[in-house]
């Protein structure tokens, strides 16, 4: 079980790498979204915003309405943000649950792919 602090730390690393990745910045063009993260084991909730091709800070709690809701274990969130986990496999197994449109899910998957494969 990962603590909220670990998830914040992992996200900070992911955000830095993501915002420094020119390909990811291109992929985020026109995709301003609010994503809610729900840790199924700890009950912790977070919100991350993407605005003007930039990944914003992670904030505790659900802030406003979401475009996407991601539910996973706290360990999976931490591993995912560190780029140590292939989220596709977890998604196919049903351990990561998504709610949102298929286009938004694809964008989020692109984000995670950049983190996972360091592309």
């Amino acid at each position: 079980m990962a603590t909220d602090a670990e998830i914040f730390e992992a996200y900070g690393d992911w955000k830095s790498r993501g915002n420094a990745n020119p390909r990811l910045v291109r992929m985020l063009r026109g995709w301003d979204r609010s994503v809610h993260l729900v840790a199924s084991d700890t009950g912790s909730e977070f919100t991350l915003e993407v605005r003007a091709c930039v990944l914003g800070d992670l904030v505790s709690g659900r802030q406003g309405p979401a475009d996407l809701i991601v539910t996973a274990s706290s360990e999976d969130f931490a591993d995912l943000f560190w780029g140590d986990l292939n989220p596709s496999v977890k998604y196919q197994n049903g351990e990561i649950v998504l709610a949102g449109s298929s286009e938004d899910v694809m964008r989020l998957d692109a984000l995670s792919m950049v983190a996972f494969l360091d592309q």
Partner: protein, 496 residues
């Protein structure tokens, strides 16, 4: 581990019930519907065609029950992979899924060809121009997809409404204007006997097929119940629209018109002369919008996800700057164009072979769904099922047997004659898919595992070994020490 459940409640944009109904109806109501309805009429006395569709509709409701239960258990776009891999060996599940996926290629190819043929006919252009129209249509579909353009929900809903309402209205008007009363509305065995009726039911199932593709929208509906309720209403709407279409075609069209590549244009002409023909050409083009939109997105995303899990070559998981898996999109466009070229080159009733293959594959997947329901009831008896089939054993067994028989019947008949060609095509596709799943997938997974193992060390920092984290909370054994090089198992999971 039981999957965490969540819904789309709280989403800024979520799919409502009307959108679920129109998506389910629109995915089924493709341009190929017109040719399948005309083909059905050649098997059964035209005025009684609605009886075949009623029986097929009742069978479709059986399939609705299966998909409702399975989708309720796995409310995700990846549901088909999840319930099939739980219910059977993963390699068998992959082989079946790949074969099923080929239905989408056939439907997209057939729709592009049908719209192209309809345009050629109304413009009185040379036949070879059909290939050009087909290329242009598929080209537009590919480019739109690559640019991440998806038809807005309201546009999809409107297209479905226009297609179903206009087709039903034209069908009724054509019958009324024929000034001849229905002669044999209650004699389904009148002209062709029980075998012909059985074949017409098998083809009738195809008229409902793809209504279940709406289950891939499970993650975006406001209420999970919208999916199975939407599918139910879609089956009813399809019964009304397709019955009117088939009865009208059987009543007013000649055999030559029925076996053409554009029977709907003749139906339009019977209703409103040249204006009706143009109207139906327009409606045919509108139906293609849903097929191209839904078909391309469904197939390309599925291929992408399968490549991401390591069961298809990695290039199929490449994304363009709009986060679109461009290789599957282009591949689907090219493959569909080649299939439509073959149909054009072979000529005659080649498109009827596509209909037969599609009908057989759909019946097959419905039988597989019945099997999955039975198997999962046995191995996961306590899993949460928001929608449960009553009397599941007799119902699912009946579905398994009936759909298997229907699939077999559809696969050996073309234009009311015995033909092993559809069965041969399915056998080849199934053999290729099986060979791929058994031989190539293990190699791909091993290569992916090796590639992942060669990556640098795990990036996540180690936790304090004492079992207490910096904030004083107890740590887990996940990363007690600074990890070494990654090890990746066959599923792509990393460990240290």
């Amino acid at each position: 581990m039981s999957a965490p459940q969540t819904g789309a409640a709280g989403l800024r944009r979520a799919m409502g019930f009307p959108a679920a109904v129109s998506t389910s109806t629109g995915l089924a109501f493709a341009a190929l519907e017109y040719l399948a309805a005309a083909g059905l009429v050649t098997y059964v006395a035209g005025d009684s065609a609605w009886i075949s569709l009623l029986v097929a509709g009742l069978l479709a409701l059986l399939a609705w029950g299966f998909f409702g239960e399975l989708n309720g258990m796995f409310p995700t776009a990846a549901a088909i992979r999840r319930y099939m891999s739980r219910a059977m060996d993963d390699r068998v599940a992959l082989a079946i899924t790949f074969t099923y996926l080929s239905t989408i290629v056939l439907v997209v190819a057939a729709d592009a060809f049908i719209v192209g043929a309809a345009l050629t006919h109304v413009l009185r252009a040379p036949a070879w121009l059909t290939a050009l129209w087909t290329a242009v249509l598929l080209g537009v579909a590919v480019i739109s997809n690559l640019r991440g353009i998806k038809a807005a929900s309201w546009l999809q809903n409107s297209a479905t409404l226009v297609a179903v309402v206009a087709t039903t209205a034209v069908s009724v008007i054509a019958v009324v204007r024929s000034h001849v009363a229905l002669v044999t509305p209650f004699q389904p065995l009148g002209h062709h006997g029980p075998a012909g009726f059985l074949e017409s039911v098998a083809l009738g199932i195809f008229l409902y097929s793809a209504f279940e593709w709406v289950t891939t929208n499970a993650e975006e509906v406001r209420d999970p119940r919208h999916i199975h309720r939407g599918m139910f209403l879609a089956v009813l709407i399809l019964f009304v629209g397709c019955s009117a279409l088939a009865v009208a075609m059987g009543h007013v069209l000649t055999h030559g018109e029925l076996v053409s590549a554009y029977p709907q244009l003749y139906l339009g002409r019977a209703a409103w002369a040249a204006g009706g023909m143009w109207l139906m050409a327009g409606v045919t083009a509108v139906t293609a919008l849903n097929t191209f939109n839904g078909g391309f997105i469904t197939a390309s995303r599925f291929v992408y996800a399968t490549a991401r899990e390591g069961s298809l070559p990695p290039p199929l998981a490449r994304l363009n700057d709009r986060a679109v898996p461009w290789v599957p999109v282009v591949g689907l466009g090219v493959l569909s164009f080649l299939v439509s070229l073959v149909v054009l080159a072979v000529g005659g009733a080649a498109w009827q072979v596509l209909v037969a293959v599609g009908a057989a594959l759909e019946a097959m997947i419905y039988a597989v769904a019945a099997f999955c329901v039975l198997r999962l009831r046995r191995i996961l008896p306590d899993e949460h099922r928001p929608f449960r089939i009553r009397l599941v054993r007799p119902v699912a067994w009946a579905g398994l047997v009936l759909f298997s028989v229907m699939g077999l019947v559809a696969s050996v008949s073309v234009d009311n004659r015995f033909s092993p060609v559809p069965l041969g095509i399915i056998a080849v596709m199934g053999a290729v898919a099986t060979w791929y799943a058994l031989v190539e997938v293990p190699k791909l997974r091993a290569a992916e595992a090796a590639r992942m193992a060669a990556r640098p060390t795990r990036r996540r920092p180690a936790r304090p070994a004492a079992g207490l984290l910096d904030d004083g909370s107890p740590g887990s054994a996940a990363s007690p020490v600074r990890p070494g090089p990654r090890e990746v198992d066959a599923d792509g999971e990393t460990s240290s």
